[in-house]
Symmetry: D3
Subunit: 162 residues, 6 copies
């Protein structure tokens, strides 16, 4: 390996939070190419459509070098193969994240020798998750500082029914 | 970043196990240079001297490309800086590993913007640790398959008092 | 602060168990006023209606000093503000409880400087949860000793279809 | 107790995996009679019907001595009583398994003095679960080595819509 | 397997607590022979000598059928082999117990196909450990109800310097 | 209870960190009197003497209302009794903290009906511990922002050998 790493940062990003953005910024410093890969088919009904989630992710990562936003469907390791990536990036906040992610990582090595590199969330984001942010916004709470400003604006619209 | 990553894989390696070797082999595929950094001053009395630990680590990684073995003393992030590395590699086996390592990783970002990339142990090594292997060897148990053959041989000598 | 604490003990209470009651009794000894706050909109369909859950909570806490039962909707920290409470009480049984509750607690400090004080479940209740009790009752198991007698009676009726 | 243990190994087995099979083989060496008890009413819609799940479990355990396959409905401890079993066998893979199972085990002692004996998953199966295997198969991934060959064949058919 | 199980319950038992006694009583109901195996060489200096620990364990288990007390040195799985036991019994109180014990259990299967059957501590003993009990006794706290009466008496003597 | 709570915040405070200070500030808002209780006999050799630890704790908490600093020896619950306190405050950072603290809390209820109220560390301090801070300082790392300025100054002196 001589030309730097291509890595996939997969997720539902419904919506992208400051916690995601922090991982993206930190990971992008160490790889040649970081593909933020928005999952097409979350099992639950998302708040934002795939197109919206991609657009928001693109908007908030526009100024970060080495980052591109894409979407994927099907088996993540096959998608990684198509992108020429042998490495996934995942953020870890908590022990409960860790166990599930450890199982997935071991499965992905087994399925296709795709490695997962875990980065720990910055302390100031360790309590952040898309679902918690949505719950706060749904109940009318203030999500500024938890998500990028553009995302906060869009969530406010969405929950006001615009 | 365009030329690939320099990463540090730090530890006491008293002695290097098949679990360490697995992380080294997997990490080395994705970085331009992997420095296996043997810690000089473990708080407990080690079974093998620093020189022995380095020699064993060199021997078992001799055939793996991109890997070099070194030792360090003092603050790990300062050592990383001297080696031109902005990234540490750590293996995770279990939840209890994770919490301590998460604290260290957050501290290392804070001290010197050095990132830690965590890889999960292969399932077949998830129950392995240097201290457990030493305990087994000390009691006369068979450590083949747990450590490289050369290390097994040296442990047997050590516990027989050679 | 000179006149004692007002604290909120929030939950779905579907239904109130002996584990809840134990936390209520222990917390009530240390605060001037403990508001048992029954959540109006659980995401899942509850076994008991809000009115029933409030009535049962009132009934089983009637003899405990400093305790009142109320219900709330919307953001918990805003409700706390309306009640003049700066403190929430939560019971912890297990590690998995802890991580989620830790995220919520950090979010609530951030949203409104509302603190969460955690109390650990008494050992004899550490395996108790409303959902486990409902599962046992649904399958015809005996829930006496797990919930107050009046609650046990109501669950029996409910699962017999009365 | 003089004639050996009758133990129940309960689960949904949707479908039986190599992880289940490993626990069954290891447990069967130590008990006089191991009843693999397929749960009739999983809360989620299963991939395979109860009959299919029983048939697959019978097929893959046919050659293991002391093992029989049965199904049950209702309270597990009552079923155990009807089978003359005072002991359940459960496999543990991870911390998150452990906490839930610990609560259930303490409840089952309380309800009917039925004990749970936990065995740890073999390292090579520690990342395996029926739901992860189904997810991989649904997305077209290869599940050989994760489930017995006959189960792999049936999953392939199912997800192709046969 | 037709004649019932021989199982080893290993530990330092410095001293035996009501938590140990609970596991012994519950395990002894399900096996033909339960060997309480007192470890000769704890890494720390014990409060009670090996002889004292054995004597106390014998005294408090004297009336429990199928139980014998023994001591061992060296590799536990080799001791189990000498006793004709293929099974260890361990009690689990908490997640932190679990991870270490899971590693040991996987190691013991690997070393000698010796299985570990885990039982969960009764809720009323889940906060009990020999070291916590010793700490309480050392500081003059009351350990009745935490250890058998004879053990409480001996601890009081020991910490008074008798 | 009508006059507000007296609470004990116990610890070794070797030395007091910004994480401790954060808990003290947040707790002091909700109680009538918060006693920061410095433990006399840590099992390990402390970096700072009891007198130094008390002096530093007093210095950094001097401007916080309702707070006093004291030291204690022996059983914590008996000390609490002598201070007229029925409540302990503890900070929780991580799951590993939690399990040990949960055992202690259940023991303290049992010994003397002294309750423990847990507060979660602020995210920005969740990776902080006295021992990690000492390790960083010992190796010449910068601890500003991790401990109060006066403590940082004293640690620098200590590790330079002043």
């Amino acid at each position: 390996m001589t030309d730097g790493l291509t890595a996939i940062y997969p997720g539902t990003f419904d919506p992208v939070t400051n916690g995601h953005l922090d991982i993206i910024e930190r990971a992008a410093r160490h790889v040649a190419r970081l593909v933020v890969a928005v999952s097409q088919n979350p099992s639950k009904t998302p708040l934002f459509s795939l197109e919206e989630r991609i657009a928001l992710a693109k908007e908030v990562t526009a100024s970060i070098e080495h980052v591109e936003v894409d979407s994927f469907d099907g088996l993540l390791v096959e998608y990684a193969g198509r992108k020429g990536a042998k490495v996934l990036i995942k953020g870890l906040r908590a022990v409960s994240d860790f166990e599930y992610e450890m199982q997935m990582a071991q499965m992905n090595v087994r399925l296709a020798e795709v490695e997962t590199l875990f980065m720990v969330a910055s302390p100031r984001h360790s309590f952040l998750s898309s679902s918690l942010v949505k719950e706060v916004a749904r109940l009318g709470g203030d999500v500024e500082g938890l998500v990028p400003p553009e995302v906060a604006r869009r969530m406010k619209e969405r929950f006001r029914g615009d």
